[in-house]
Subunit: 383 residues, 2 copies
């Protein structure tokens, strides 16, 4: 069976062209990974996700553990078979969801949903209030049951406004849990006969010295890749860019680097420029469900009145099913009528846009033209 | 350009095997027509509607007139191009919607939405309360703008509990309007270069003498097909069957016969047995959106708890994308999570079920085995 592998093929400045090999296929990097939180990339069927050129998708351990439960998935022979996606899958460890339930909430009631202990986290389900306890070991066990090609270590994602003492404590827990995940991974055999890779997560909020410490610590453990967590949670672009620059020299060159939760095209360009290889974000589908579509000339909201008479496709030159077959007029009509085909078409287009965008990024690195591509892209594309 | 044509190929008792030819293709009858009220068969893309074997779909003049407006559709070159469906389309005239707005409502406020006049009907939009007036002529004009292969005459669909005097008046208006529709149809040229057929509608509530009178009147006008309206609105199965039997001898053999709004498999069998060729209904997609699926062994509600652990397809032997790829377990999970793919798969399966069911009906007529088929089917299938 194919072992997990990363090959760094080329650099253009800090921007990297690479290839990840997993048991379920190869992934050219930089890559954007569509999010299928609950075992479905929202509104789309797996054959459509494949047709738009997605090579790897995300699942979420927290959600899948609560419903349908990892045992149900195991009964089908793992998430690939359950959802009929034969390509690589990465699962988030659930850390972010567990903590965003507590810290993301503004009121005291919600904070009580989460209790952080040194050996793990107790939380209540957002669905029914039932009590659960996640540990590094249990999170690895669940991801083995899910059968992800790439598993994520369990981390504590401290809030963006955490003070330094808290940030340091959370980082220390994250590091201890990272080590425990590596140990647990060695002990629990894969259930489905293929190797599952494990990535560590760097934390440290916006404190540069903590981020450097975390980068060094995580990079030195026996992980197959390194993720940067706790960003894209509201910090200014400048701050995020500085953290990426601070962290980058401490990251191993021979492992893929994953900036979690980042998906705005401009943010992806900033991160690729600073040596990041992997991205995920719910934005393409979430915006699509609001009627917003991305094009190389910026975004359009098809709910705006002129589009009902617009016989152009969403984006000229786009090869997606939506652009090859339908006018803005028709899609605008569907969106106004809350016809589900409308949000299918906008979601499909936005994800295909991301795939074309990432391909263009990779081509520009191949040709040593990443900086020019970035400049030209940003000139035309407004957020 | 291909002219509208109906060929009666075979009879098995009163059950008929036939073929309709339209400018956009041929239709084997008996046929079930999926409903695409607002220019979309709910949750599905046109390539999927084609893949499940649908040969003709419905649109609705009332809804399309209100939004996006027939002028928007005309700008795209007609409904076929607007929604990218290259097969035949039948449009309802709007009569049923206009009247169900008024009579369907239980309270006085809603009744005021509709004012029936001798030359047409004034109504208020259910969307924004704006005032509109439909006449036989305007309804033909709109259906020309939409570009339906089969247009329906404007009729008054009286309520199931109307007294005989009212039923007679409504029928008389329907007959006068039918004549006006035939006249209007001759005067308004098709806009898109192909011939558009026109069907008349028989009314008369549940009064057999009125139904006979209406059948004779409508059958003698220059229509391409004859529809039976005002049924499937809550009358007992026995009453509907009797009306069909009473009407049938007065229908022309050489025109297709369409029972509007009927879609329960058992009801279709009853009507085919009584000489009906065409059916439409929103049930397959509406039930699908509630998690209910049809199989030859009856219906299943996938929201019921055992299905989350059921690794069977919805229906063994079904060739639809849902059954070929996914387990009840996965689809049950999607439905519980309100993931849109869930209702796409149930809608797709239910429509594919209807297509297989109609094909089996046609084959049984071909082999002079319709009665046996009906008996065997009903034995297994519970409503």
């Amino acid at each position: 069976m194919q072992k997990f592998k990363f090959e760094l093929k080329k650099e253009d400045g800090k921007a990297r062209l690479g290839k990840i090999t997993t048991a379920h296929g190869e992934i050219e990097t930089p890559v954007f990974m569509p999010v299928g939180t609950r075992a479905s990339v929202k509104t789309l069927a797996p054959n459509e996700v494949e047709e738009i050129g997605a090579k790897i998708i995300l699942g979420n351990t927290y959600h899948l553990y609560l419903r349908p439960g990892t045992k149900v998935i195991q009964k089908s022979g793992g998430l690939h078979k359950f959802m009929k996606w034969d390509g690589p899958i990465l699962t988030d460890s659930g850390g972010f969801q567990v903590f965003s339930l507590g810290f993301g909430a503004k009121d005291q009631t919600s904070k009580k949903l989460v209790k952080i202990k040194e050996d793990g986290v107790e939380f209540r389900s957002h669905l029914d209030g039932s009590k659960h306890f996640f540990t590094p070991k249990s999170v690895i066990q669940m991801q083995k049951e899910i059968g992800a090609d790439i598993m994520m270590a369990f981390d504590e994602c401290a809030p963006a406004d955490a003070d330094k003492d808290y940030a340091r404590d959370a980082m220390a827990r994250t590091h201890r849990w990272a080590r425990e995940c590596v140990e647990a991974n060695k002990k629990v055999k894969p259930l489905y006969g293929y190797e599952q890779a494990l990535f560590g997560i760097i934390q440290g909020v916006t404190y540069k010295d903590l981020r450097v410490e975390s980068a060094k610590f995580i990079s030195n453990l026996d992980f197959d890749g390194v993720a940067i967590g706790g960003l894209a949670v509201g910090e200014p672009e400048k701050v995020r860019n500085e953290i990426l620059e601070t962290v980058e020299p401490h990251l191993p060159k021979d492992k893929p680097r994953y900036l979690m939760g980042v998906g705005f095209p401009q943010d992806i360009l900033n991160a690729v420029e600073r040596g990041v290889d992997m991205f995920d974000c719910v934005l393409p589908t979430r915006l699509g469900r609001n009627g917003t579509v991305w094009t190389y000339r910026g975004k359009l909201n098809l709910m705006n009145s002129p589009f009902i008479n617009d016989l152009n496709p969403i984006e000229k030159g786009c090869d997606c099913y939506a652009c090859q077959n339908f006018t803005r007029s028709y899609i605008a009509h569907l969106l106004r009528e809350s016809e589900i085909l409308g949000i299918r078409l906008t979601s499909l287009h936005n994800l295909r846009f991301m795939m074309r965008f990432m391909e263009d990024i990779r081509n520009s690195i191949q040709e040593n033209k990443f900086k020019t591509f970035k400049k030209d892209f940003i000139k035309k594309f407004e957020r």
